[in-house]
């Protein structure tokens, strides 16, 4: 099984490695035999379109990540801590975006914004539409981690006079933060480079995927490969840090064993 796990990672990262390789290549369409250059990186820095696109993608990712995690956390605590007859209904509502394709989320919010509200493409619509999907994923992630959370700890804190908010910050949050972090990261990643939801909600505002989409007509720009390579470098740096933290046991990220 470990072999299959490694094979899956190889499969998942082969195209990423290809992107990194091609970003250093003189010809991204025909990058064999190898001929290296850093031209793409120079072009990347000199063209402000890519910086704008990156900033917009980051804003959408962060906005959607924060909204999704906050709404989903409140929802999960609501259904787990306060039993209600409407529990199943609430679970269905929170998970429903998972069952609507991104294409439909994008197109329906375009239809609603453009034709009913008369709004042009804007960042708020894009963040909200991305957060719909984010809420559902965050809810699923946080719920599956918190199902076994022991709420008696909170009740103990309340018995000793802690108010609900203080109890959340000092008792609940220190225990559940790794699942919130996981939910935030997943909803951030999904929104950061989302094509189909963002595309229909942004009009002419550039994001990384929409720039890629736009440049398809002339062939993908090598700068996009360079930018993707840099993004991946950054991500792997963070993963490296996480690995060290896990290895040394400094931060356990919710793992309860030794």
């Amino acid at each position: 099984m470990a072999g299959l796990l490694n094979l899956l990672y190889v499969f998942l990262y082969a195209p990423i490695l290809y992107v990194i390789y091609a970003s250093f290549s003189q010809d991204i369409v025909w990058p064999f035999p190898p001929a290296f250059t850093s031209q793409a990186y120079a072009d990347l820095v000199s063209n402000s379109l890519y910086a704008d696109a990156l900033v917009n993608s980051l804003i959408i990712g962060l906005g959607s990540g924060i909204i999704s995690t906050a709404i989903a956390t409140a929802g999960v605590i609501g259904i787990l801590r306060y039993p209600s007859k409407r529990r199943t209904l609430i679970i269905v509502i929170f998970l429903s975006p998972l069952f609507v394709a991104e294409l439909l989320i994008g197109i329906s919010s375009l239809a609603f914004n453009a034709r009913i509200l008369g709004l042009p493409g804007n960042m708020f619509s894009a963040i909200a539409a991305n957060a719909v999907e984010g809420v559902a994923f965050s809810f699923l992630i946080i719920l599956s981690q918190l199902v076994r959370y022991d709420w008696q700890m909170d009740e103990a804190a309340m018995v000793f006079g802690a108010r609900p908010t203080r109890c959340f910050w000092e008792v609940t949050l220190p225990t559940i933060w790794p699942s919130l972090l996981g939910a935030f990261l997943i909803s951030f990643i999904l929104a950061f480079n989302n094509l189909e939801i963002s595309f229909y909600n942004l009009g002419a505002i550039p994001t990384l995927p929409s720039v890629a989409w736009g440049s398809l007509r002339f062939g993908l720009g090598p700068e996009l490969f360079a930018l993707a390579a840099l993004t991946n470098g950054f991500v792997f740096l963070i993963f490296g840090v996480m690995y060290v933290l896990m290895r040394t046991g400094l931060v356990k990220f919710g793992y309860r064993g030794k």
Binding site: I71, L98, L220, R247
Partner: protein, 292 residues
Amino acid sequence: MKPDSTWRAIITPFVLLTGPGTIFISITLLVPLLTVVMFSFWRTESYELYADWNLDNYRVLFGEAAYRTFLIRSAVSAAVTSLICLILAWPVAYYIARHGGRYRLLLVLLLAAPFFTGVILRIAALQGILGPGGLINMTLGLAGFAPIKLLMYTQFAATIGHIYLYIPFMVTAIYLSLVNFDFALLDTAKINGAGPFRAFAEVTWPLNWIGTSIGTVLVFIPCLASTITPRFLGGPNATSFGMSLSQQFGETGTWALGSAMSVVMFIFSFLVIAIMQLTIDLRRSGFTGVGK
């Protein structure tokens, strides 16, 4: 009853905590979807929508064979991809849940990290690996072998693309189910004489069926609506329902027909989910705390 206590009866902590999400999803998902349902009964003429109610869009959709072909093609492709992902994802998720130890979160995040690279770039890179001038066929050519035709612009290549894009969802869903699964149950079954296969089939598999079915739906739905992958990897005979749908909102500007296609796609996905849901028995599920 004093007005104050009535309010307190309505605004319970449950309502306060689940309310924001319910309102948010209603406004940003439900209302737009209803808008699309409404538009599907309207008429488009030179890029403008007119509110004269009619069924013409559905007549076109069910009348022309092309749309039926697109829908069947997308549905079959989505079903095949879901099945392959299911078979591949189970051992991987199982391994991470059982043997991932302290690195579990990192191993799961590694599945999500490819999403940092846009879908277009990743699919273009896959094309660069699989396509006619790509890594695999170039290498084969240099070694004196014939190129593998199957990898170049075929439904097979598109399926590889779909598996590539969506298998992380399947692994994550099964993993999330398995971390809540009490492996002591499995050991109990084995102690009582069940072989590994029987223990898996009668304990592990049914108790994690909710996670598995959520994963299946998470792969099936985006495959059904897939636009980019068939366009890049599928070749000329791979036009999907999603491609045709997004065209109605782009190049051709026939929003009403596009809306009708969205409704058909939504109903089709809903039917699949409903069928999956029938197979779920909450009393025998992993999420025992929620199923009560």
